[in-house]
Structure formats: C-alpha cells, structure tokens
Symmetry: C2
Subunit: 374 residues, 2 copies
C-alpha cells in the first residue's frame, strides 16, 4: 500500500427520499424511504466546482478510500483516491456513495419495507441504472453541488456514470467509463444467470425471506461469487498468481481443495458471505443485464450537443467486458459528434485491473481528470 | 443430420475385472468387479488391424454413433462416425466404451461396492487417466485386438488417448488428441473446483450417499453444468445463437429467466440431471485436474523411439483448452523427436467444436486416419 493515503474516514448517511415523498422509479413504482450511505474525501472548493463522483461496481460500497480504524484494511479504490493520487484529494472533493439496491447502507431489498414492517425481499421493485442516478442526484442536491467536475466508475460503476452523462448533459464536465459495457453480451448474461440461479435455487433462499429465518443462501451465494471471481481475473493472472501450486505438496489426490487456486476461491466465497447480501446480488446483476443506454428512442436527438468529455478505459486481458465493449461506447458517442476517446490499457490482471496498480491506467485517469477542459 | 449414418446400434457390456482378479489402480487400490459398457461400429478386418478406439469426453458415454431406436436422437459423435464419414465405418472397426468412473454402464462411484452391498459413493478410489486405459486395454484383450489403427478423443478423451500412446508405444499407429490438455491451467482448475463445490455443498449430496435417499444434489449438479456449459462455447457462438433475444419480447424485467440464453442454460442444467451422475462428475473432473503426463520421471527415456503418429487439433475460439494447450502437447512430443503435428482449426464454436460440423476439422481428421503411414 502506498504511503501518504487518507487517514480514518467515516461513512455518512442521508435520507434522500421519504415515505411521503418517495423515489419514483423509471418503472413508475414508488419507493420510500431511501437512505444513502456515502463517504467524502478532500475539501469542497468555495465555488463548489471540484466534486468528483465515484460509482462503485457490483459488490462495492461507499468505503472507497482511507480506512475505518485499521490502516491496513483500506477502501476498494484507495490506490486511486488520496492526496497526490490519480483522483487527487488535494484537488478534488470526492463523493463515494453506496447505490440503490445495495446492502451497505443504502436502501435495498434487504431493507425494511415500511408498508409491512418486514424486509422487502423479492417485493423490492426492479430498478434501472437510471434509477441509481436519480438517487445519487438527490444526494448531490443535499450536498448542494450543482455540477460535477467528473463522474467515473468501473464495471457497473462505469455504466452508471455513462447513463448519468447521457441523461444530464450539464451534470458533469467529464465522465470516465472504465471496463464497462453499454450492452451485456449473451455470454455476460449467461454467467449472471447461473450466479442468480445458484442463489435462488438454494433451499435457504426461501423465496427471499431468509433474513427472518437466520439461515441465508450461503451455499448459492458463495458458489456465485467463486464463479464470478474467475471471470474477473484472466488466464494469465491465474497462472501468475497460482500456477499449479498445491497447498501441501505431495498429498494424495482427493476431491476437496488441494491446489492453491482452489483454496483461494474457497476463501473468496467464504469471505463474501460476511460482507454481501444475496438479494442485492440478484438485483444489481439484473440491472446490468438490462442496461442498453443507446437503444433508447430518440437517442440521437438526446445526445446532440452534449458537451461532456468522455473517456472509456478497457484492459487488454479483461474478458468479462473486453475492449470491444468500450469501443462500442466510444463509437456510439463519436457517431453523435461527442467528445469521446478510448484507451485500451495493457494489463494482465483481467477485469479486476480497474482496482489494481496499473501505472498506464492511473496515468490516463489522472491526466483525464486534471487536464484543462478542451 | 447427415443422411447415410449408421442405423440402430446396441450397447454391449463385458466384465473386464472381477472381485477375485480386480483392477489394480495406479494408486495401488484394488477395484472389482469392473464392467465396461461399449459400442462398436463397422466390421473388424480379418487381420484385426482396422480398429479405431474412440475415447469420450467428461460427460460422454459409449453411445457415440447411430441411434438406439429413435433415428432423430443419435450418438454424440454421429457427425464423425459412420459410412463415408471422417471415422469411416466402411474402413474401420470403431470401438467406443464408457470409461472407468462413469455412470453410463461402466463401473463408477455409483456402482455397488460388493464389500458393502451399497453404492461406493465417496469410498470409490481416486483414479488417474492411466487407470482409464488399464480398463480399456483389458476391453481390447477381450475383443482380441492387439493393436489399434488409431485412438482418438476430444477433451478428456484426447487426454486418455495421449496417455495411452505415451505408455504403450506399440498400442496404436496413430493418436489424435483433440482440444485436450497435458496440464490444466489454474483457471481450468478454478472452473472445475467451483463445479465440484456446487455439487458437494448441496445439502442433498449427503456426503455422496444420495442414491439411498431418493434425493440427489440436483441443484448443485445443474448449476455446475450450466457454468461448465458456458465454458464450452465462445463469446461469438453465444452472440450468434442467442444475442440478446428474449423469450417473450416486451415483458417486464424480472429476476427469473427472460433472455433466450437463460432459458437455454436452464434447459441444459435440467436435462443433464436425467443423464448424468454427480459422483461421476466429481471424479472425472478431478482426474483431469491431476493429469500431467509429461511431468513423469524419465519421460524422455520413456518416449524415446515411440513410433506413434500424433495429431493435435485445437479450435481458434476454444478458451477452455485454447490452442496453446495443443501446442504444448506437440512441442513436448517433438522435443523427443516424435512424429507429431498440430492443426489449429478456425471455428467460432468454442470447445464444443469437436462435436460439431466443422469441415476443416473433419477433413483433417479423415486425412490423418486414412493416409498411408509415414
């Protein structure tokens, strides 16, 4: 971990919608109250014009940088956010919220439904990437920020930032869309559906009412996580990290974990259970499946003259959302004469590269955020 | 389906080892009786020199060609085996057995253990690819065939044929190793371990004693199959077959299957349950994980002068066992001055290409089997 990072930070919380004035979703459904957990790093400028909005990925949370007391355990994007880092807290006021449907402080399917006094479970309405932004735009209102310097995120976070910039041309100066997609492929959806089935078919899922019983779909959620985790790495990164090393060389072959890569995945599955909720996993993966921002009616008219500067970043070994996903985003934007560019970064670490120390990536992001507006 | 295929065929069965004269595995464990299910197509020549041995993949069986009564439902390699086909039954006597540890007629972990009168379950010994061959060599003895014209197979089947040719230099003239590997990568093992965990963690797995209860690990096995099935296709084949088509266009978003690709995978998972056994899935995947034929002590000495002609075939879009796996096999053989060549076939269908109509592949195989020995 780099020296000079942020110190201890706290997660804040704000009620963005109430039962009386609920969030109205794209589907027309109403939801309230909606509370949002968020963290901020750095100082808001007097002109309130230096805000950078960070959107997290599928299993992320508001805790992007700094630490919560143990300086060894730091936020998921601590490599990028901090004094002198690519998202420089000496220059920027960084806002990092948990998203709608989440399980880390923002209202989601495991929150209490005031109409029943019970957790929503599967009665939580389906929501879209656009709905994520409706909630976070309200958060910005509460923070009295009218325009962002930039919004950015990786994977689902990039999708969220992209939709925001499409829907609100003046919402931000710059939008960085990192290893994201504007249209999941059939294979992307395939992995997601298997993960969801692993969860929903687990007898302990109990139709989504598992919290009340004290037994959750831990088997299904761990299997889903282990499988998904494979898709976040690359053949090369697996080979580099684990090869065919065995935990204890020379043991007799057996069916249980033996190779290091197996122990690693088991650990990934187990540790996920303590920090993530199965219902959130279902809803957020599904939100990604249905995300097709350029399929909208009148998208040409809508994008016309949008002044946002877009940067799409992909990673050479990312096979979950490979470079063509980013190319597609940029070509859709450029076809409407918008200011968009694509950087494909050479990196062996697969989709997870967006979380890691990849100098070319950090450099590209830093430059994009810091250069003079064109 | 091509015209002119084989007609109705029957699965035969032969006891290859008995309780009194058991199979001795590479580990030293003894197993008996061992019964083998197999099919044959074509006629054995008078000189008994035209036998071609077909080794099936992970979830295959003895029924490789022809049909069992319904001419619409044909064996898994019916595209390749038959009169005038690449494995030409007008020329060759084709033998296709189910393998040790199987669940389709050959003794496996769900067979009855004579020592207890119950199914083996997890008491079935671990076995190696070499052990598969020990059993099938006994089958050949029973059929009074001393030398094969060729042995071949795809995936696990290719691994089996390769090990056979390595261990017994005079066993066959030719060995075709199709989309196989001589060393699974960490990512290969990763997918296998998640599949096994999905099965073994299913409460209905019951430590492998599920047959007695009437409830099997159907959830785990279906999830394992759905996940594995993704890895047998390619991004391109998924896009081509399904794209983002939905079963019923215009339905409201939901968590259950909606996109065609989801319905397809659900069907794959469900139909697998009626034809495959979870214990066999565990054992055979594990046998593949441990397969490293070139790591053997004294492999140089062992391979010296082996006259077998080897052909490795890979497919351009196969990412489960991509071309480098085949390249590795051929380079190991060539490094010992053996007669080996590699054909990388352009095909969009991923690992499953070995089961499909890919003309360049069929042609390469036909030529390899039919040309004059060099």
């Amino acid at each position: 971990m780099e020296a000079g990072g942020l110190g201890e930070v706290k997660t804040e919380s704000v009620v963005c919608f109430t039962e009386e004035e609920p969030l109205v979703l794209e589907s027309g459904a109403a939801l309230g109250p909606v509370e949002v957990a968020y963290e901020t790093y750095g100082e808001l400028s007097e002109d309130r014009d230096n805000a950078v909005f960070v959107c997290h990925a599928l299993t992320g949370d508001a805790h992007a940088a700094g630490h919560h007391g143990d300086s060894e355990r730091r936020g998921w994007w601590d490599r990028l956010i901090g004094p002198g880092k690519p998202i420089d807290t000496d220059q920027f006021f960084v806002i990092s919220p948990n998203l709608l449907g989440g399980c880390q402080g923002t209202t989601g399917p495991s929150s209490i439904n005031p109409a029943t006094g019970q957790r929503y479970g599967l009665e939580f309405p389906m929501f879209s990437v656009r709905d994520l932004n409706t909630v976070h735009r309200r958060l910005l209102e509460k923070l009295e920020i009218e325009q962002l310097h930039a919004a950015l995120g990786g994977s689902l976070g990039g999708m969220q930032a992209l939709q925001w910039a499409i829907d609100f041309p003046l919402a931000m100066e710059r939008c960085a869309v990192i290893c994201a997609s504007a249209e999941l492929s059939a294979m992307n959806i395939a992995f997601s559906t298997v993960a969801r089935e692993a969860i929903m078919r687990d007898p302990d899922f109990q139709g989504g009412r598992y919290h009340e019983s004290g037994r959750g779909p831990n088997i299904g959620l761990a299997v889903a996580r282990m499988m998904a985790h494979i898709t976040y790495l690359s053949e090369e990164s697996f080979a580099h990290k684990f090869g065919r090393a065995r935990r204890i060389e020379g043991t007799e072959p057996g069916l249980g974990p033996d190779f290091e890569v197996e122990h690693y995945l088991h650990h990934q599955g187990a540790s996920f259970l303590s920090r993530f909720d199965a219902l959130t996993y279902l809803y957020l993966t599904r939100t990604m499946d249905y995300f097709t921002p350029f399929d909208e009616d009148e998208i040409d008219k809508k994008l016309r003259g949008n002044p946002t500067e877009f940067l799409a970043i992909s990673f050479s070994s990312d096979w979950r959302f490979a470079s063509p996903h980013s190319e597609r985003i940029v070509s859709e934007l450029k076809a409407r004469q918008l200011n968009a560019s694509h950087t494909d970064v050479e990196s062996p670490w697969g989709h997870d590269s967006f979380l890691l120390d990849v100098p070319e990536y950090h450099e590209a992001l830093a430059q994009f955020l810091q250069r003079e507006a064109s």
